[in-house]
């Protein structure tokens, strides 16, 4: 039995006529790094805001260490948030920003100074205390925002797409740093992102959200190799969803075989060839109209658009219909 620090029970939330959260359940373990992954509008930010108390759930309960905090005001909750665009106070120095929560808690000046110094060195920005946020780079602001939330030693730290505004290189670097920070702080992280690579790189567990429900909750391995629903398979693994006899199978594009092998039993015609991320992607149409994408590194596939050939696959995982409904719904 794992130590549960935060539990969401049947949370529902609607904005006007739109049901954003359709009754979600989630148990978060002490000290884990859990990621809510989903495309924009799936309800992940709303979930986070409900945990933070910035949004009020219509139904359901939020339980932090056995205590019901569903309707507690945000300033009385032992959780802190790192906001999407950092939300650093522009009129305060870096040190004042980090120390703000401590000042609110009426800590002594000496203690505030010491803790701010500690945090600054933890995020490797010693000596930046007297600067103002607009004198910092995006990556530096990001670290200050994390320091500001983490200095309060919350039970749970909420991070709302904290790396969203950074460029790719900086993102990769910050991913590692965040993971390191989480380990050294020992705080539970609830992390939000729409980038599946980021989620897989950093998380202990991933909860995949789609239209206000969780499609699957599991370790990166489980999510990647054993997708439960078609949505998970296509969102995380970039898999083809193949229908046969009323069943759904997820076929990863790299597992599609195109050379004459014994598994190649499907008649197909090449519709399109394109390069993406160093990979050759070939779009096939099967005789029953279903479309399958195959991908390869390097240019080893000598196929031409319009060419007829047989394709097949060895690895196909049976998945369920996605839970959250399709995009056409709204």
């Amino acid at each position: 039995m794992k130590d549960i620090i935060l539990r969401l029970e049947n949370i529902k939330k609607a904005f006007g006529d739109t049901q954003v959260l359709k009754g979600i359940h989630l148990e978060i373990h002490r000290g884990e790094f859990i990621t809510l992954l989903g495309s924009s509008g799936c309800g992940k930010t709303t979930t986070l805001r409900i945990i933070a108390g910035l949004e009020d759930a219509d139904e359901g309960r939020v339980i932090l260490e056995g205590e019901d905090i569903t309707h507690a005001v945000p300033n009385k909750r032992d959780v802190n948030t790192v906001f999407q665009n950092y939300a650093l106070f522009p009129h305060m120095t870096v040190a004042e920003n980090i120390g703000y929560g401590l000042k609110i808690r009426k800590k002594s000046k000496e203690e505030i100074r010491r803790k701010v110094e500690e945090m600054l060195s933890l995020v490797q920005l010693e000596g930046f205390g007297d600067r103002y946020p607009d004198q910092l780079s995006g990556g530096q602001r990001q670290r200050i925002a994390i320091a500001r939330a983490a200095v309060l030693e919350p039970k749970v730290l909420l991070l709302d797409e904290p790396l969203g505004a950074l460029d790719l290189k900086l993102r990769r670097q910050m991913q590692l740093e965040l993971k390191r920070l989480q380990k050294s702080l020992g705080i539970t992280f609830i992390y939000i992102t729409h980038d599946q690579e980021e989620a897989i790189n950093m998380s202990d567990r991933i909860a995949i959200m789609n239209h206000g429900v969780f499609e699957q909750i599991g370790t990166p391995n489980e999510i990647y190799y054993h997708p439960e629903t078609s949505y998970v398979a296509s969102f995380v693994g970039d898999a083809n969803i193949y229908r046969e006899d009323g069943k759904l199978y997820a076929v990863r594009s790299e597992n599609v075989l195109i050379h004459e092998e014994e598994e190649c039993t499907h008649e197909a015609v090449v519709l399109e060839k394109s390069f993406a991320g160093g990979q050759l992607r070939i779009l096939f149409e099967l005789s029953d109209g279903q479309r399958i994408t195959a991908s390869r590194y390097g240019i080893d596939a000598e196929v031409a658009v319009g060419q007829r050939m047989k394709i097949g696959w060895k690895v196909a995982v049976e998945v369920k219909e996605q839970k959250g409904g399709s995009d056409e719904e709204d």
Partner: protein, 268 residues
């Protein structure tokens, strides 16, 4: 491309110079010995001496300062609170559905004083103050000026609030601040520049107003612009030149202070 730059530069320069011609002439003639502004007869400071001796002008100046100061103060209090209230309601449209219509109508009415020709406002106040039986003087002046000072403060502060990142207040709340602390530590410092520039604009508008003041000033109280207006109507005296120069100087100093302050603000 080069030619275009030269043309636009000359165009702007010529118009700017024309803008300054009457102002510079006023300054030059304030040092003219002769009473007429037709010919230059020699340098003199006598009009300044006369100006400083003029008790009526001094009184009018003090009145204008009191008037602009108090109507600005009222406008800042009412306008800032109003903007904060409206903004809070805009944030939670669900909760304040019933007020949306009222806010729209009231918003329109409160902007009226700066949306219509001033003469109408003057006329309206003259009529209504005599109906209300208010004694014409400083009180009526302050009420009238407050009505047209509020929109400047209100709309500037509101624009600033709407443009403010909502996450800032949420972040403070998230870190444990009470709503009052959020207001005091975050919202107030961030809207301060808007409050100040709204106040400055309102002060200038009030200090400069002739049209409305003429209607509501009554016989006993004179504001500086009203005084200047009557002097201009009765005949030009070089004393006005000196007064204009002094006012120009004060404007310049105030603008300089405000630009230094805003620079400091930005540095922070």
């Amino acid at each position: 491309m080069k030619k275009k730059k030269t043309f636009s530069g000359i165009y702007v320069a010529v118009l700017t110079i024309i803008t300054y011609v009457p102002i510079i002439l006023t300054v030059i003639y304030s040092f003219n010995e002769s009473k007429s502004s037709v010919s230059w007869t020699g340098f003199s400071l006598k009009w300044y001496e006369e100006l400083f001796r003029d008790r009526e002008i001094k009184e009018a100046l003090i009145n204008s300062l009191i008037l602009a100061g108090s109507s600005c103060f009222l406008a800042v209090v009412l306008g800032t609170l109003g903007a904060l209230g409206i903004f809070k309601m805009l944030e939670k449209p669900e909760q304040y559905k019933a007020f949306a219509k009222i806010n729209n109508v009231m918003g329109y009415i409160s902007m009226l004083p700066i949306m219509i020709p001033e003469i109408i406002l003057g006329m309206v106040f003259l009529a209504v103050f005599s109906f209300m039986d208010l004694p014409f003087g400083m009180l009526t002046l302050i009420i009238a000026h407050t009505t047209f000072c509020i929109p400047y403060v209100f709309s500037m502060v509101k624009a600033r609030l709407v443009g403010m990142d909502k996450a800032l207040a949420e972040a403070a709340l998230d870190m444990g601040a009470t709503p009052f602390q959020v207001f005091w530590d975050i919202t107030l410092p961030l809207i301060m520049p808007a409050v100040l520039s709204g106040t400055m604009l309102a002060f200038a508008m009030s200090f400069d107003d002739v049209v409305i003041s003429i209607f509501v000033t009554g016989a006993k109280v004179n504001t500086l612009p009203v005084k200047i207006y009557t002097k201009l109507k009765t005949g030009v005296t070089p004393e006005i030149n000196a007064l204009a120069t002094m006012m120009l100087l004060v404007t310049l100093i105030l603008l300089m202070i405000s630009s230094i302050l805003s620079k400091k603000w930005k540095k922070k």
